[in-house]
Amino acid sequence: MYASRRARLTGLLYLAPALLFVLVFTAWPMVQMAWMSLHSWSIIEPPKWVGLANYLRAWNDRQFWTSLGFTLEYTAWITPVLIVTGYLLALLVVPNTPLRKLTRAVVFVPVVIGLGVSSLLWYWLFSYDFGLVNRALVDLGVVAKPVVWFGEDANRAMWAVITSIVWKVVGFGMLLFVAAMQSIPQEVNEAAMVDGASYWQRVRRITLPLTARTVLLVTLFSIIGSLLAFDQFYLMTAGQPFNKTATSVFWIYLNSFPYLKLGYGAALSLVLAVIILLMTVAQMALARKTHA
């Protein structure tokens, strides 16, 4: 009954504000970013056309590659940790008993607080003099004297950050896994139990394959989120030591704003966006394959 011209127009009218918004505040900035990346564009001076010089500079920018390398390394470590922890937690809390529901709810709490705020919280917990992590380790006799978590060893700093992020976001994956597990038909499991399959056998043969799509999905979220990591490193490590923990977004931010090189920052942003887009496409292709 709506298939009239009028209905089409009305529909477009309802859609128009959102379309306009996305056009102005997402699509147009993308075009502008490409344009800016071809300029030397300090905030405080007028832009100058430089062609592809910014991309050439990115190619030769050691810190850009170090940052990208570190970001990938961080992503490669945190993603499996998040998936495995989230999955094990989900297995534990999937039945709807009161205690498990409470556990679910509590594990999810950090997801709702801000990343900036949680990073400051963990910055304090890991602080050398004032941090309770060191206090606990010393009290328990694990270490003789406090550990310098941030600023001494890039790996140690990364793992401290990973700890904080796992605490912060593990509930997200867990919740999706629980939902996926709960939607497995009861009969499938019961049939397997009749066949005498043990708990872990059933997890391996039934639960895992039937939740594979969700696992892939959470992996995708984790990868994208980690590739864009900024808050946690800006606030906790400040890129130290030796700039080894300065992530890609961190380096983009530094160049664009504190160093006043907007054009170069835009070029780096574009490179990063393309990398992330490629990863997303690859993941989705993989997901489709698994699904089919």
Partner: protein, 420 residues
């Protein structure tokens, strides 16, 4: 229904008031001033207070900006056209903003002003670009060697004979560290670029080296660079520096000396009052930061300029505030009374400095002080992610070849300086 109406009204109210507060400043006659946050906040507060008492019709409203964000924030403000009327600018960033034409030229306002003749030369140098003047000193930070006389005595050293060469610093530090406990001979901040240019930079200068690119565009010139790096590496290897110094990113740097657990360290004049507050019973002295040769010395003259960003509509009032800062009364009753350095060299003879010999000691550093002049100071040196700090960290905490470390830093600094 009524509840819904309430909700709607509230939402509307919040939205409109949110929009309103953005566009209407609190008091139309106030001047807005930004200043970086830091240890001089107490004194800047006092200066503003003095001005506001005298000028109730044109008070200054002060906002502090985190130090690491200052360049970015000011640049963003300029780009948005929403600038403060006065800006307390870390003096080393002066040239960058002057070159970009973003500060108001105040040369003509100060044409016949006699106070400028004695104003801190380091400040005046960076406040001048192409023979035009863009700012006046807001305050001066000068670095020197602070040493703990109590620990000197305990270690069997003469508290009236501070070290005069790097070798002596090393020897004394060894003795103080040997006291054991939680006491260490020296302090080197491991993750703070600014602290290091302030306190380790002078060691290199005193050893005949230069840090920022010289007239030929060459950074880090002279054997002094390597000698100081080697010395620092050895100091740390010998256990003369606390372990957690490595994580020192500037947040607790100013509290280190006053803790009483550090025998000697490079720090600044602001630390006198601070250490007194922290540790009233501690006896300490101040000497000059030495170099390799006995008797050589240098210092970093830092601090802030007060400038007027282009776009300020209150230039006349802002200039009055600048003149006010340089006036005799403020020099004595503002700066000197709080035991801060006067920004004019002819104002050091005053009752407050006479009562506090340590200020006189630290003021001696002014005569051997210098201020680096470069357009990209932040990116080359002061940035926590810049080549200067990276070089120091590699020297302090790795066994990499020093020549290679220095060469790497030179390449990076030159690359930055070459960029437009």
């Amino acid at each position: 229904m009524r509840f819904k109406a309430y909700l709607r009204a509230m939402a509307l109210g919040v939205a409109t008031s949110a929009v309103m507060t953005l566009t209407v400043p609190a008091f139309a006659d106030d001047l807005i001033m930004w200043e970086r946050s830091g240890g001089n906040a107490g004194m800047v507060d006092r200066l503003i207070e003095m001005w506001n008492e005298k000028n109730p019709d044109r008070r200054i409203q002060l906002t502090y900006i985190p130090h690491a964000e200052m360049v970015a924030k000011l640049a963003q403000a300029i780009a948005s056209g929403d600038v403060p009327d006065l800006m307390g600018l870390d003096l080393i960033y002066g040239p960058q903003f002057e070159a970009a034409g973003q500060l108001v030229d105040i040369t003509d306002y100060f044409k016949d002003d006699p106070t400028l003749k004695t104003a801190s030369p380091g400040h005046m140098m960076v406040a001048t670009y192409d023979d035009r003047l863009y700012g006046v000193p807001l305050y001066a930070d000068v670095s020197a060697l602070f040493y703990n006389k109590d620990l000197f005595e305990k270690a069997g050293l003469d508290p009236d004979k501070p070290p005069t060469s790097l070798a002596e610093v090393r020897a004394y530090a060894d003795k103080i560290t040997a006291l054991g406990g939680d006491v260490k001979g020296y302090f080197l901040p491991g993750s703070c670029a600014g602290c290091n240019i302030f306190t380790v930079g002078p060691l290199m200068w005193a050893s005949g080296a230069t840090i920022e690119p010289n007239a030929d565009g060459e950074p880090l010139v002279g054997d002094g660079v390597k000698q100081v790096l080697q010395w620092a590496r050895d100091m740390i290897k010998a256990g003369n520096v606390h372990d957690d110094a490595r994580a020192e990113n500037g947040e607790t740097f100013h509290l280190r000396f006053g803790s009483g657990k550090v025998g000697m360290m490079g720090t600044g004049n602001f630390n006198i009052t601070l250490a007194r507050d922290q540790n009233p019973d501690m006896n300490f002295g101040i000497a000059l930061l030495p170099g390799v040769e006995p008797g050589s010395a240098a210092s970093f003259i830092g601090g802030d300029l007060v400038t007027i960003p282009k776009g300020s509509k209150r230039v006349d009032d802002a200039v009055d505030f600048m003149k006010f800062l340089l006036s005799d009364e403020v020099q004595v009753e503002g700066y000197a009374k709080l035991l801060n350095l006067t920004t004019r060299s002819d104002m050091t003879d005053n009752q407050y400095f006479e009562a506090e010999p340590l200020v006189q000691d630290v003021a001696k550093a002014l005569s051997v002080g210098r201020t680096p002049y470069t357009l990209t100071f932040f990116e080359q040196i002061n940035s926590p992610q810049g080549p200067w700090l990276q070089m120091l960290q590699r020297a302090y905490y790795t066994d990499d070849d020093l020549d290679e470390i220095i060469a790497g830093a030179q390449d990076q600094m030159k690359a930055i300086a070459a960029q437009e």
